[in-house]
Subunit: 206 residues, 2 copies
């Protein structure tokens, strides 16, 4: 496995490939090609073949990829052939939408518990969850050995919440607050900020 | 301006720079450096200097960048020195969160109107908006010459909704549905799918 040397930008495309393969499978297909994948994703077939070749041999020239097999391999590479428990911190509108989102489980993730620091919210329900006191975050994360968190608090609370998550042992944070947070190098952070995408697109709109 | 030849991945980093500069300005700073920006963003200072140099000369060796000036320049390059009206299609939990999100306006965007096809929702309120009938989408978009849309409908409705948006003249779509949509090359699409980010991170979690 040469995966330790794979550029992170290549790793970042694997979830896109996996998602497209899942859709193909749901449509009843068994075989695909780098051309077909590329057309779905707007990525060149050469790029797809090159990306996948960094992780092994998944198809043969001329016969294409077996969708089920390639999906399984990608799930294994991305470590989502298991289900990761996730804590959600911050139950505003967005946190509530995430708590109700049905698309996590069949792709490797399950929201396990949700937290907020607002006394008016603690104890109330959101989706299938009871909102817990953010002061209990550390204890809960450590008791259940949770490694992944989603952060949906306001920007001015994001760094403090991230610090608490890191201290509790969280290894990966998906941050919805429109700010940058600082963590030790051993903790991965990714951001979801719709405005970054909107601004990227308006650059191109004449 | 050499910007027509700038790789898209570079363009995609400009909104990150702009966001960091805005935070620095809010903290009362007037001058920054590629080193300081890089530390905030986890990007090398050389990369930042190289990215910015594709668009012009924004600072001098040794004196750093004037934050206000560089912000203005980036806003102009990204075309967010104006406010873009945005239509939102799909008012589930997520659409509701977007309708209530306060972080668009000061970064170049304003939700102008919101649509859903569910008769039970049409006419109801979400945030400051009255939910309109998605059947009226085309008329509304053309009447107000809107070019940007956010799509927060279920996956199985995403392509049809995107087709309607494209037909109405939309030029940029931010898609929250966990699927890939197809549009003419002249229409930009970006996706927000939390699972892609989560899977990218779990690859790295040992």
């Amino acid at each position: 496995m040469r995966s330790s040397h794979v550029p992170d930008i290549v790793v970042g495309r694997l979830p896109l490939y996996l998602r497209a393969l899942n859709h193909m499978q749901a449509e009843g297909n068994e075989i695909t090609s780098s051309q077909e994948l590329g057309e779905r994703l707007g990525i060149s077939s050469a790029q797809i073949r090159k990306d996948l070749s960094q992780f092994g041999e998944f198809g043969k020239q001329g016969t294409g990829y077996n969708i089920g097999y390639l999906s399984d391999q990608l799930r294994s590479i991305l470590k989502v052939d298991r289900v990761w428990d996730v804590v959600l911190v911050g139950v505003g509108d967005l946190g509530r939408a995430l708590a109700n989102y049905a698309g996590f489980l069949d792709r490797g993730f399950r929201i396990y518990s949700i937290f907020d620091s607002d006394p008016k919210k603690i104890g109330k329900r959101a989706g299938d969850f009871t909102i817990q006191d953010a002061a209990e975050l550390r204890k809960a994360i450590q008791a259940d050995d949770i490694q992944v968190a989603m952060l949906a608090v306001p920007s001015d609370q994001a760094q403090a919440a991230a610090d608490a998550l890191v201290e509790a042992g969280i290894r990966a944070i998906l941050c919805y607050a429109p700010t940058s947070i600082t963590t030790p190098a051993s903790v991965r952070v990714e951001y979801i900020d719709p405005v970054l995408h909107l601004q990227h697109m308006t650059y191109h709109v004449v």
